[in-house]
Amino acid sequence: AQSVSQHNHHVILSEAASLELGCNYSYGGTVNLFWYVQYPGQHLQLLLKYFSGDPLVKGIKGFEAEFIKSKFSFNLRKPSVQWSDTAEYFCAVKPQTGGYNKLIFGAGTRLAVHP
């Protein structure tokens, strides 16, 4: 069965530190890839997405993610985090071929940024 793995459940950083959140998926076919963010007390929002083309995609608030097909990975990065980036981050994959074409979410990574 398809699955999405996020390597870190909790990450604690100081402001201005660099961020990289890992995401790997298990599916051999074509996929669309997403990162969602949930700020405290708010609903889930789309941070960025990859459908095709340049594997380095840029999202809102200075976030970017790189799709590496050979590694089945879609890691999220930000060069310098801010306190306001404190949130939970979810990687999600949507297979484009085969019988199951629904969003599959990872378990989430809770990021805390300290001033």
Partner: protein, 114 residues
């Protein structure tokens, strides 16, 4: 993007009762979905709400426990029936457009079953 609202935002219910959650989208959408997010876990898809026909349930979820209605392209309800403490969770409504392959999420309904 679509703006999604849910009612109620939270509720505390007694074991054995049922709760119906409403989801309203501000525009007509092709797809509507219901998810569950249990404490400390990721989002799990319960079912796809189909307009004009029965919902399509994911493995492990059944219509008797989670009946769903979708009377039109902007509205859906999810009922959590015969609740037990294990049903305590956040229930999220989501909508999407097939062409754009994006999904938007409501604020969620936080359910606690005593």
């Amino acid at each position: 993007s679509a703006v999604i609202s849910q009612k109620p935002s939270r509720d505390i219910c007694q074991r054995g009762t049922s709760l119906t959650i409403q989801c309203q989208v501000d525009s007509q959408v092709t797809m509507m979905f219901w998810y569950r997010q249990q404490p400390g876990q990721s989002l799990t898809l319960i079912a796809t709400a189909n307009q004009g026909s029965e919902a399509t349930y994911e493995s492990g979820f059944v219509i008797d426990k989670f009946p769903i209605s979708r009377p039109n392209l902007t509205f859906s309800t999810l009922t959590v029936s015969n609740m037990s403490p294990e049903d305590s969770s956040i229930y999220l409504c989501s909508s999407g457009a097939v062409k754009r392959d994006e999904q938007f999420f409501g604020p969620g309904t936080r359910l606690t079953v005593l």
